[in-house]
């Protein structure tokens, strides 16, 4: 007399695909001899498997590997050209990065001290709406915003050059 065994589609599935141990397989086999539902499900799996196997495997075209190689070469070449371009305009050594940041801060400082009349509105600092609205806090916000914007603009080529897409 076989042991009591819980019906389970998962167990029948594992049995069908041979994904259970031999001991478990023997237990399931004994259960299948007694359980109509599970043996019926096993038959369904077998019939479905037989039907699905009617669709035979096929192979890709013979020149697929050549096309893959060509595609990779084209993309590598494109990447190299882009890297070369940015390397010409923004060599990203640490020294250059530090120098750019110092230049950005100096530029902003001079702007605030009105030494460079490039942006005349800085001469009328109090005319900025954020300064009128928030006072000294507004002044700080405007300064931080302008510094951040300038640094971002100057660092953009470096950031792009160092971005992951250029790393193999």
């Amino acid at each position: 007399m076989s042991m009591k065994y819980n019906c389970s589609k998962d167990r029948v599935l594992a049995f069908y695909f041979g994904e259970c141990s031999s001991e478990e397989g023997n237990r399931i086999q004994r259960h299948l001899e007694e359980c109509g539902d599970c043996s019926s499900y096993l038959n369904e799996l077998r019939q479905t498997g037989n039907i699905l196997r009617l669709w035979e495997d096929s192979s890709p075209d013979v020149n697929t590997w050549d096309e893959i190689r060509e595609s990779i070469s084209e993309k590598e070449l494109e990447k190299t050209n882009t890297v070369s371009y940015y390397r010409e305009i923004a060599p990203a050594t640490p020294f250059i990065k530090i120098l750019l940041i110092i230049m950005a801060m100096a530029f902003l400082l001079f702007m605030l001290r009105s030494r460079i009349p490039l942006f005349s509105f800085w001469n009328q600092w109090n005319d900025l709406w954020v300064v009128r609205l928030l006072g000294p806090l507004g002044m700080a916000i405007a300064a931080i915003f302008c510094l951040g914007a300038f640094i971002t603009l100057s660092m953009t080529p470096i950031l792009i050059w160092e971005s992951r897409i250029f790393k193999k």
């Binding site: 479905t48 039907i51 096929s58 192979s59 890709p60 590997w65 893959i68 190689r69 990779i72």
Partner: protein, 196 residues
């Protein structure tokens, strides 16, 4: 061990060795191609996607982590992402047949008459019938069925590829089997089958 061989090859791919990618291509091209064909339903699109799959293996080799899964699961996941991206873009005619139209098609009646095709003509008919039947499955059921019955992935690997729990993968497989079997039951039994 196959897995360690694949991991070693991927290390070489990361270092830029094209021959390692060629070895991986020779090993997996047929599996990936047939997976694409059976999920998309178009050989032409599968041909295009297999090129993109191996190109992505090359360029994304740095993201492969052998501690998180096997190479096999990883490459199938790449192929699957391609399929899903194009399906969402609707750029290609991703084939799906409404089960309600099944009664109007003669393809499925093929199985009742010939289960062991002998001639090439019968084999072609059989393949078309299976193709049609797979297209009636919703994509998430079809993916599991194809990975299990044709690519012989374990449910653990299928769960990794699809990024779902293993129990969900099994449940989807059972449901796919139910749908396929329902196609061959008598008309009066079809009313008991819940629509997916």
């Amino acid at each position: 061990m196959q897995t360690s061989d694949d991991n070693q090859l991927m290390q070489q791919v990361k270092s830029g060795h094209g021959t390692a990618l060629k070895i991986l291509y020779d090993k997996y091209n047929q599996m990936i191609f047939n997976f694409l064909c059976r999920c998309i339903g178009s050989r032409e699109i599968a041909q295009e996607f297999i090129q993109e799959t191996f190109a992505r293996v090359w360029f994304s080799s740095g993201t492969f982590n052998p501690n998180k899964g096997t190479f096999k699961s990883w490459i199938f996941a790449i192929a699957l992402n391609l399929i899903r991206n194009e399906r969402s873009k609707k750029e290609y005619s991703y084939q799906y047949v409404n089960p309600a139209d099944i009664g109007k098609k003669k393809e499925l009646t093929y199985f009742s008459s010939v289960e062991h095709p002998q001639s090439q003509c019968e084999k072609d008919q059989a393949q078309k019938a299976v193709h049609f039947m797979l297209m009636t499955l919703k994509p998430h059921f079809r993916e599991v069925l194809v990975l299990k019955n044709y690519q012989y992935l374990t449910f653990t690997e299928i769960a990794e590829v699809l990024n779902i729990p293993e129990s969900t993968a099994k449940a989807r497989y059972h449901r796919a089997i139910d749908v396929i079997r329902a196609h061959f039951k008598k008309k009066e039994d079809r009313a008991d089958v819940h629509e997916i």
